[in-house]
């Protein structure tokens, strides 16, 4: 008993001696973290979202994690950005700059009035970067919710594992920072940026269910995983000049699936990975370079795809290899087709118009938002780009006239009132006419869903 207490006391004192400088480090580094609040406006509602961000420069630029914004929303639906300092009840206005495609980060810029109170994380970068060692102590900041003025609190942990996913990522023993917030070592050097947390497996028992149900729990307020500084600092400068981070490099090799070690061995691929290309998109750089569906991609610019764990990480690796390049750049691909190894020279193109960039318009009386048909729709619907006409039902108001007629979100609207609608403009005009005609009792849509079509009768009264 005695010896055990002694050991415990020793440990406590040992920690306390080194922790003496932490309060000083803490108060300095609090200026690098903020909470960002914004509203997402949809056809029928307005919802606040709060995300955590890290300051990256002296202009008040802040990065938010990729999951901060619902990918179905377009930037025009994101309103009233406000930036709150840790522990502050009042925020200052912010401007949404857009999303970087490679890192997925959303960029926000705080109002000039606040800039002096913010400090970029780069000020705390180590002079000599090194990966944190196993069991090294790391700490970070968590932020309480808005009701508690985003009060900061300390999280401390140790590095348990460092892995390539494909970015170098550390997993800590327990939660080490709010997602999107920085992680520091004991010297106060920036060592990484907390990512969204990992799902942890539990078994849930209850009075009703005594045998237990497996559940996966994700802590959305704190994270135990962080991207290492070496995979953060070089990319901070990628401040988008437009909402979608264009220019976006495009290859057009679609549905990449990793091969597992057994398959790699069967194909005589030693110490490397590979991906199967499910589809080569119409008119894409990959198609122009002669790539075929089911080609097995082995190497990029002569470098074999690395073996990564889990297997699927190699897909993200290939995608990042494309995204880090610019349209017009060349990329040499080695593929296996049957028994033949082929070298394909591709010149990356510019990503076709994205769903987020598509035009859209809401018709309140019909209860329907239509969206322009874009390249991605042709891919998802498995039709030729040349067959692409009509519009997509982007939002169908529950129990509204269109919803009552059986229209679903993502249905492909091909005809309105028996007339083929070739373009977004034609469809929008047609619906506007119908909506403006208050005497109209009904109209008819021809829609396609899962390769089948249906005639829907929309009753307006």
């Amino acid at each position: 008993m005695m010896s055990r207490c002694l050991l415990l006391c020793l440990l406590l004192t040992g920690g306390a001696v080194r922790a003496a400088e932490l309060p000083a480090l803490w108060s300095e580094r609090l200026k690098t973290v903020v909470a960002v609040e914004f509203y997402t406006e949809t056809e029928t509602e307005r919802r606040p979202t709060i995300a955590y961000g890290t300051v990256i420069d002296h202009n008040g630029t802040i990065i938010l994690p990729p999951v901060a914004v619902n990918p179905r929303m377009t930037p025009s639906q994101l309103k009233e950005f406000k930036v709150y300092r840790a522990g502050s009840a009042t925020g200052v206005p912010g401007v949404y700059l857009g999303q970087d495609a490679l890192t997925g980060w959303h960029y926000v810029r705080a109002d000039a009035t606040q800039r002096t109170e913010l400090q970029p994380i780069t000020d705390f970068a180590a002079h000599q970067q090194r990966e944190p060692a196993m069991a090294e102590e790391v700490w970070g900041i968590g932020l309480r919710n808005k009701e508690e003025d985003f009060q900061p609190y300390l999280l401390v942990s140790r590095v348990a594992l460092v892995q390539s996913l494909p970015q170098r990522t550390a997993i800590a023993l327990q939660e080490v920072a709010g997602p999107g917030l920085p992680v520091f070592n004991r010297a106060g050097e920036f060592v990484g940026l907390a990512a969204s947390s990992f799902g942890q497996s539990f078994v849930q028992f209850s009075r009703m269910d005594r045998s237990g149900t497996p559940v996966v729990l994700v802590n959305v307020e704190e994270s135990s995983a962080f991207l290492l500084a070496s995979d953060v600092l070089p990319y901070l400068g990628r401040v988008p000049t437009n909402f979608f981070g264009r220019p976006l490099a495009w290859l057009g090799a679609f549905g990449m699936q990793p091969v597992d070690p057994d398959v790699a061995k069967f194909l005589h691929l030693e110490n490397q990975s590979a991906v199967v290309v499910s589809e080569v998109l119409e008119g894409s750089p990959a198609e122009l370079a002669g790539m075929k569906a089911r080609d097995i991609l082995l190497a990029i610019d002569g470098a074999p795809l690395p073996r990564m764990k889990p297997d699927r990480v190699v897909v993200a690796y290939v995608e990042r290899e494309v995204e880090r390049r610019q349209p017009g750049a060349t990329m040499a691909l080695t593929v296996l087709r049957g028994d033949a190894r082929l070298e394909l020279k591709t010149v990356l193109g510019e990503e076709p118009r994205l769903m987020g960039e598509a035009e859209r318009k809401y018709f309140d009386r019909i209860g329907l938002t239509i969206r322009e048909f874009v390249y991605g729709d042709a891919v998802a619907l498995r039709v030729r780009k040349s067959a692409a006409s009509g519009v997509i039902a982007h939002f169908v108001k529950p129990n509204g006239p269109a919803g009552g007629a059986g229209l679903h979100t993502d249905d492909w609207i091909k005809e309105i009132d028996g007339v083929e609608v070739k373009t977004f403009a034609a469809a929008a005009q047609k619906l506007a006419e119908i909506e403006a005609d208050l005497g109209r009792a009904e109209f008819v849509l021809l829609v396609s869903r899962g390769g089948e079509t249906a005639v829907l009768r929309v009753k307006l009264r």
Partner: protein, 439 residues
Amino acid sequence: MLRTALLGLALVGSLPASMSRGFNQLLDAVVRIDVREVAFEDGAKRFSASIGSGVILSADGLILTNAHVASPRAVELSVTLSSLERVGARLVGWDHWTDLALLQLDVAEVKRRGLKFAHAEFGDSDKLFVGETVYAVGTPFGLTRTATRGIISNNNRYFEDSNGVNGYETGAFNTWLQTDAAINPGNSGGPLVTEDGRVIGISSRGYLGANNLGFAIPANTAKRVVEGLSRNGSITRSYIGIVPRALQDLENFYALALNTGLLVNSVDPGSPAARAGLRPGDILLAINGEKVDGRFPEQLPPIQNRIAGATVGSTLRLTIKRGPATGEYNVVTEKLESRVGEEWVLEKWGLSVRKVSRTFARENQLEDTTGVFVIGVQPGFPADVAGLSRGDVITKINQRPVATLATIQAVHTAYEKKPEPVLVEAQRNHQVSLYVLKP
């Protein structure tokens, strides 16, 4: 003499069904059917037993029952006659579209054992009226020769189900009789009869959890199917690839006279109708000059049946209204196929597969009919260990396209003799992956 006869007639008219000669003969024609069938679903052959009912139709021992009672998956069919004697039987043919199957009693065995049975007669199901008393006879929950009584609740019920008969399509080509005579599991395949013992329907299904909502295939549909099955062992139908829909009150929109036309709701890609230029939203006015009235759902099966009844490969002249214009379209029919292809189990791999059919390929937007669909894997067996799962479509094996079931069976046979790693290419939601089946 004359008086007796008259009395006799009068007596027959007022006698309860159980005492009429026809009804008694019917009771002697109803059989219990014990089925042992094989299923391939879980990556292994599994046998299961079930009980159904049937009715003997002829002196030479043809028995009519449901397709969901006796299908080609049956490995053993055993018939219990009204004398309680058991006799073997074999499947003559089945037709899941109408949920009917035809069995043949083992005549040699019947003769050898000197067994006797009666056979039933069909009535005219077109003459049934709502409210008419009917009896269901069968083996509900294994209770042999149970008769229940009810009325015809509806004589023209529309009831289409894309996977109603053990996963097979049913109900597109006929309407159903609805009755409140109690129909329970095990009644399936038994006759629905009038008071004089005439078979006017084959009890087929009921709503689970509902009270007394039973459905039977009308005798007039059954007669045609029995004829076809006894002659050819199967029913061949024509397919053109239109999905019809009742016009209901869309007549105004399409500027049609009342009770005219059928709405083409969808045209299957690549089908004869698509090739002929038909489009969704077209109105079918006439087939070979004969007018079509598809205003209500009940009217769709007879129209579908008209198309299905055309000789495979023959040309149908369809009169189509599109917008203000009316035109003629010649469509060459194809043979109708089920979505459900042939099934097999590759036991050493613990892998159950089903051949990709034309309909399956179309519904799942596959390029063609190459491949087999995985319907089950057995945990711990090579297919499961490699990562294959239900829903995958295996397109290549050892780099060879799986054009037929035989392709993959051959590789499996070779593996049985000499187990060596096998490379499998499969797609899941159109994403192509490779797998290795290892001994």
